[in-house]
Amino acid sequence: MKWYQKILNFIGHINRGKFGVDELIIFKVIKVKLTNKKRQAIAGYLFIGIWVIGFIWLTLYPIIMSLIYGFSNVTIPGGSGVRIQFIGADNFITVLNDIQFISVLQAFVLQLLLYLPLTIIISMIIAILLNQKIKLRGFFRSIFFLPVIIASGPIMATLFGSNERLGILSNVGDEVPAILESLLPVFLANFVGDLYTHLINILWFSGVQIILFLAGLQKINKEVYEAASIDGASPWESFWKITLPSLKPIILVSSIYTIVMLSTFSTNQVLFRINVVRQQSFGQASALAWVYFLVVGLVLGVVVFLLTYEKKTVEKKLLMEVKR
């Protein structure tokens, strides 16, 4: 045996035991009888083990540390290694008094709540358009997917502007008509005033969703539509009764995708603020990040709950009809 084989052998090797049941011997002390189930478990963990280690080391541990940072004063005295001083909820109180952060967070949540339904509806409509019998479908599809390929932080800043400068697309519809302001709450009035810019923004963020919906539409059996049309259903009716219910899982997936993308995209002002604070105090930045995490998590939770809850009631209705 070569040296590395000896080491491997020491760590673990398989002995053919009595009655034909193999035994795994680890460090020459621990003996495990290898049933089929255990074999599977070991093989499974050999494959996903790297993820489990990575998750605990690079994600779970930092998340817990970040919560601890949030409650303490963090300094890096010698360039490496941290000193953590517990100071209670001070950081979180500072965060709640950080007007800049609260205002960008508020703006972000409003934007998220307005963008999410619009993104879903618009990408669904575009997917339905693309699903018609048209020429050049492939061409249009690849044009609509373009944003996914080129939308990076600096590029989006060029298109939609940043704190420092105006973008190519951002100088349209700047002025909010006075009538709108008297009729609607301020944020809605602003939103309607900038509708054009917002629509373009939404379109630029819906490349993946369009493809997801298109894939979903193409999986619906065409015979169902034929049967419905023979029974006298109009296209309008078959949209509501066939298309929409079969797209439900995709609506859920796209909603999650949209929320995650909007909340982590690098032009996001909240992230910008966290990054600014990070340069002054790790503790405060961690507290900011946690508040942000909780807010995004709350939105995600509510959206997922609403979308899956509805599904259950529909299933119940179907069951009732079958019983009748």
């Binding site: 494959f47 048209i134 997936v253 995490f293």
Partner: protein
């Protein structure tokens, strides 16, 4: 006479509205109109960038020339090329994009295979965590990870990107794991069992049966990983710092530096034109990749089964 009139009327009506409206001419025209208008939204900014970046100084200050430059002027590209230190930084960008993408794809396929093929304790928990990790904003774990990497000496070099990719915690890794998971679940287990009876080991089955079957998933995952990594700026800013520049970070620095220095409107317009040229220089490599391989991008999503079954 009246009969033919009626006939013509019903014919035109059928042509315009069709049997169900959705196969009529009006509907078709509407569909094409909408598609062209929406398509224009995506193409317009690129055209603006292109025309702006080709304008000479005279065109930039001439109010008569607003959209199309009077003649093609390539010096903005030369300047942007120099400001971005293009060839050098391009290679750095490529390395810091290509390596993580390759590693991440391979690791995701390993993990996805593990989840799809084996039953083991806590499997449901880990699978749920894969999805949850995707939804957690990176900002939450970024700072402690920064400190961790600082202690390990991984900051400001490519290790800060490669280590997470190797452990399945890279950029959007969860999506790729799920793509492979869905794919391997579709392959019948009988294939594995047959090979096992013939005496093949698990690893042999994975390398000789699973990987060749999942080449399309590999291509899709690799391409998306590649494009997302190329366009990523937040993490590269934090982890790579000055140690390893990418075109994206270099452009962002160039733009904000130009913001600080500009004195006159002319200079500002010139900087803007150079920035546009820089933008295009960053977009063009990805556009080339996309238009050569677009089939794999789009059909990849169709086939990957990530659409929620």
């Amino acid at each position: 006479m009246q009969k033919t009139n009626h006939f013509v009327l019903s014919k035109t009506r059928k042509l315009l509205l069709g049997k169900h409206f959705s196969d009529g001419l009006i509907f078709k025209v509407l569909v094409y109109f909408l598609l062209v208008v929406i398509g224009f939204v995506f193409v317009y900014p690129i055209l603006v960038m292109l025309s702006y970046s080709l304008m000479s100084l005279e065109d930039l200050i001439n109010p008569m020339v607003s959209q199309v430059p009077s003649s093609f002027y390539f010096n903005n590209y030369v300047d942007a090329f120099r400001a971005l230190d293009y060839i050098n930084v391009f290679i750095q960008s490529l390395v810091v994009t290509l390596l993580p993408a390759l590693i991440q794809t391979f690791v995701a396929s390993l993990i996805g295979y593990g989840f799809a093929r084996f039953e083991f304790p806590l499997k449901k928990l880990w699978l749920a965590l894969v999805v949850i990790v995707y939804m957690i904003p990176p900002q939450v774990y970024m700072i402690p990870r920064f400190v961790l990497f600082n202690d390990l000496g991984l900051l400001n070099n490519i290790g800060a990107i490669l280590v997470p990719a190797t452990f399945g915690q890279g950029l959007n890794a969860s999506i790729f794991i799920l793509i492979f998971y869905q794919f391997y679940k579709m392959i019948p287990k009988a294939l594995d069992e047959a090979a096992q009876i013939d005496g093949a080991s698990r690893l042999y089955i994975y390398f000789k049966i699973a990987i060749p079957l999942s080449i399309p998933s590999f291509i899709t995952s690799f391409l998306f990983s590649f494009v997302w990594q190329w366009n990523e700026t937040y993490q590269t800013f934090i982890f790579l710092g000055d140690g390893w520049q990418t075109l994206q970070t270099r452009l962002a620095i160039f733009v904000s530096a130009a913001q600080g220095n500009q004195v006159t409107i002319i200079e500002s317009a010139q900087n803007e034109a150079q920035a546009m040229a820089g933008n295009l220089l960053i977009i063009i490599p990805m556009l080339i990749v996309y238009f050569i391989l677009q089939r794999h991008f789009i059909e990849g999503i169709d086939k990957s089964g990530i659409t929620g079954e």
